[in-house]
């Protein structure tokens, strides 16, 4: 370590409240590192075995009906394509508000999730459907930001990306962490960026857009890294920790989500504070999504099964849930043409 690095290691980090409470007033790269490296290790075989065990739960009849509606309420209906247009976002919003045109009892999804420049169109589409207050009781607008999905941009660009989306009316910001910095051990840098993005979520009236921090677990590669990154994100102020961008494989897996839920449960034991979890990418079937519900309920408890604390980041999941829901109601399977594409 040269003199500059030595000084950097002992320079105070941004005073995020949670980190100060837990680590103490001497919050530096060094103390943060000691804290993260002191976390208990994860045994990969054991974690995967536990997840596989949870996946064998058999959810039938009334429980299945409850599960399907719960899944719909927890979906962040997502479109994150280079080809996205105002028209595409409009139809996404329409689908979010009225998922099954044939059945008015179907609940609404939690949010729509779009790129930052699409926020005005999403807000507009939702606004057209109701007044401002109704909108906020209903479907949220989430925007991915901070040079999503790679996060390879200067902090200034990331902050501008964030504040623009917030200004355009985003209720939630899905940011990505700097995986390069994390993997090279610069935990302080990752931490400071999250703190800064959180500040950029502040609206003129002093309220904040909700911050989801995407760890991109597929790039962090080890479960030990996922546990550390989860703690780091929470310490820096995350409202939600999210597995993936959906642009990297593997995206969300059940073991990774279980691990993040364990962190969230431990945080709650320690502080009484509840943090949300969002698996995203790769969850396409109702059967799969039900396994996530089981994992949430048996790890952190049922109280997490609400949009404030758990979300699915998904696009094709919704239609599979609707088909399953139709099957439960009518006793027959219909087909892909009996639900709307978007």
């Amino acid at each position: 370590m040269n003199a500059t690095e030595h000084a950097a290691a002992h320079t105070a980090l941004a005073p995020a409240e949670r980190a100060l409470d837990l680590i103490g007033s001497d919050l530096t790269e060094t103390t943060l590192r000691l804290h993260l490296e002191g976390l208990s290790g994860v045994d990969a075989a054991g974690l995967e075995q536990r997840a596989a065990g949870l996946a064998t739960r058999s959810i039938k009849t009334t429980s299945k009906a409850l599960a399907l509606d719960t899944i719909i309420r927890l979906i962040d209906l997502t479109t994150l394509e280079g080809a996205d247009t105002p028209g595409k976002v409009h139809s996404l919003v329409a689908k979010a508000m009225n998922p099954d045109a044939t059945d008015a009892t179907v609940p609404r999804v939690a949010a729509v999730c779009v790129y930052g420049d699409m926020v005005p169109y999403a807000v507009e589409a939702l606004g057209a459907a109701g007044t401002e207050s109704q909108r906020h009781e209903g479907i949220q607008v989430a925007a991915v930001a901070t040079a999503f999905p790679s996060g390879r941009a200067s902090l200034a660009v990331k902050l501008a990306d964030t504040s623009e989306a917030v200004a355009a009316g985003a209720d939630e910001i899905d940011m990505v962490i700097d995986r390069g910095a994390f993997l090279s051990g610069r935990y302080g840098l990752v931490f400071e960026q999250i703190v800064a993005v959180k500040e950029a979520c502040r609206r003129p009236d002093g309220s904040y857009a909700h911050l989801k921090v995407i760890l991109e677990t597929g790039e962090l590669a080890t479960y030990d890294n996922v546990r550390r990154a989860s703690w780091l994100a929470i310490l820096a102020g995350a409202d939600f920790i999210k597995t993936s961008t959906g642009k990297v494989s593997p995206a969300a897996t059940l073991p990774v989500t279980l691990l993040m839920l364990e962190v969230v449960r431990d945080w709650h034991r320690l502080t009484g504070e509840r943090i949300g979890v969002k698996p995203a990418g790769g969850i396409r079937s109702s059967k799969d999504a039900i396994r996530y519900l089981v994992t949430v309920a048996e790890t952190v408890g049922e109280e997490w099964l609400k949009p404030e604390l758990f979300r699915f980041g998904a696009s094709s999941l919704l239609n599979d849930v609707l088909l399953q829901r139709q099957k439960l109601t009518t006793g027959r399977y219909s087909g892909a043409d009996y639900v709307t594409m978007d």
Partner: protein, 484 residues
């Protein structure tokens, strides 16, 4: 309704084709027993399942004679490859009838269907497949060229893994060229009798496997029969001791797999979350009716409170109830007698001064049930720290250093299994090396594989089952210096 109140999801019993009464399976067919028939019940409902024949001394003799005949006329004359064909056939039939066997096992034994479906029955098939492969390769078992079979094997098995223990006994015996008379436990004969039907389906030559039902006196008549060459017993140390005495000097080869009081050692650098799962799996798997259960938790003192706290939280999510429900984690205790013993030892634990904690769960009105229970502040001198409870009861003790952990783990008359939880590979090897236990699991517990030998030190018995080692129990070594 909350999401966690999962709607019932019972496995259907429609797949079973049970008879009202079952005879003894001797010489390839079912015949009447001459003892007083008894009833096998479901421990979760106390309802009668079927009447079961009771083998008298004369029946035992008939079974041994059938086995002797089959050995001399047929089985010992077959090539290893041909014996292997029968074993492969049995393995495949077990797979084909897996669901039926799992349902029968959960019904008769009380274990959760998820265990009989995902653990017991798949392992049964795996055991037959594994030893089928050995049947024509005995020259390479490390026992010298062309090791000889022993003759007739008398086998007595327990009620905790009825069909799996049957497979552990029958598969290596047949692969090695022996014939078998086996007695399943009095409370759990059902799956063995369905297995007898599988043997008929497989067209196994009559007399190669004989399945006789009955209680302790039937078992005693079997192991003491003068014409058996081999005795294999899995069960209590008490009975094992009697068998060792009665077979001494008889020339019968003996293997015993007896009780245990395994230490599950959790170091402060363990992957804590997975260690909790391992503790749960170690003692609450199969209601703790496991001879190698991790019934003594040795936890490093500086993480004791955290481990116990997390353990209690986890235990509160376990589901006790109908063994046939696919979401059941904890099934029924196998018998009233066993329930009484678990209650008695737990009460003794309390009166000796240990702190008892029991997970809150609704106990069904009928049947035999015991909620998952932990004792903390247990001293090494307490009876619950020394005696095998054979139920869902965990005793928690502490240690300060690795040396103390090893000393406490070994300080038991038993030595069947042990567990080590730490993130440090070097510590696993160092500690495992010093533990006097037949199986040592590292960062896991209660995992079985047919290629891995299993057996005990000291009062946990002798001889090994499973793997290449398991063949030695059923073969006469032909190597240099071997008794010819």
């Amino acid at each position: 309704m909350g999401f966690l109140e999962y709607a019932p999801s019972p496995e259907s019993t429609a797949i079973l084709h049970l008879k009202k009464s079952y005879g003894l399976f001797i010489d390839g067919e079912f015949r009447k027993g001459h003892g007083k028939a008894f009833v096998t019940i479901s421990p979760s409902t106390e309802e009668r399942i079927a009447d079961i024949a009771n083998a008298s001394e004369a029946d035992v003799d008939a079974a041994v004679k059938a086995a002797r005949r089959a050995y001399e006329r047929t089985w010992s004359k077959l090539s290893g490859a041909d014996r292997g064909k029968y074993l492969f056939r049995i393995a495949r039939l077990v797979q084909e009838r897996a669901r039926e066997l799992a349902v029968a096992e959960s019904l008769d034994n009380g274990k959760p269907i998820k265990e009989s479906r995902d653990v017991d029955v798949p392992l049964v098939a795996a055991w037959f497949f594994y030893y089928a492969g050995w049947a024509d390769k005995l020259d390479y078992a490390g026992l010298g060229p062309a090791p000889a079979s022993l003759g007739v094997a008398a086998q007595v098995i327990p009620w905790n893994f009825p069909l799996l223990m049957l497979a552990w006994k029958i598969a290596p015996a047949l692969a090695a060229g022996n014939t078998v008379v086996i007695k399943p436990a009095e409370t759990t004969p059902l799956s063995a009798l369905i297995f007898a039907e599988i043997l008929q389906q497989a067209e196994l030559p009559p007399g190669v496997v004989n399945i006789i039902t009955g209680a302790g006196d039937t078992g005693s008549a079997l192991v003491n029969h003068p014409d058996v060459n081999k005795v294999a017993f899995t069960g209590s140390t008490e009975v094992g001791r009697l068998i060792a005495k009665s077979t001494a000097g008889s020339g019968k080869k003996l293997t015993l797999e007896l009780g245990g009081k395994a230490a599950n050692i959790v170091f402060d650098d363990a992957p804590i979350e997975e260690a909790i799962e391992g503790i749960v799996n170690g003692i609450f798997f199969n209601q703790g009716h496991v001879c190698c259960a991790g019934s003594r938790l040795l936890v490093q003192e500086n993480v004791h409170d955290e481990v116990v706290d997390r353990l209690k939280t986890r235990l509160s999510t376990l589901r006790l109830g109908d063994p046939l429900d696919k979401n059941t984690d904890i099934g029924a205790i196998n018998s009233r007698a066993q329930l009484d013993r678990i209650r008695e030892l737990s009460d003794i634990g309390e009166s000796e001064g240990a702190d008892r904690w029991t997970a809150e769960c609704v106990i069904p009105d009928k049947g035999f049930w015991f909620a998952p229970t932990i004792f903390t502040n247990v001293e090494a001198s307490h009876r619950i720290a020394r005696e095998e409870i054979f139920g869902p009861v965990l005793s928690v003790l502490t240690f300060r250093t690795p040396a103390e952990a090893v000393a406490k783990a070994n300080n038991t008359p038993y030595g069947l299994s042990a567990g080590i939880w730490t993130d440090k590979g070097s510590k696993i090897l160092a500690v495992a090396d010093q533990l006097r236990a037949g199986v040592v699991w590292a960062n896991t517990f209660n995992r079985f594989d047919p290629s891995s030998p299993f057996g005990g030190y000291k009062e946990s018995g002798y001889g090994r089952e499973g793997g290449r080692h398991g063949l030695a129990a059923y073969l006469q070594s032909s190597g240099w210096g071997a008794k010819r």
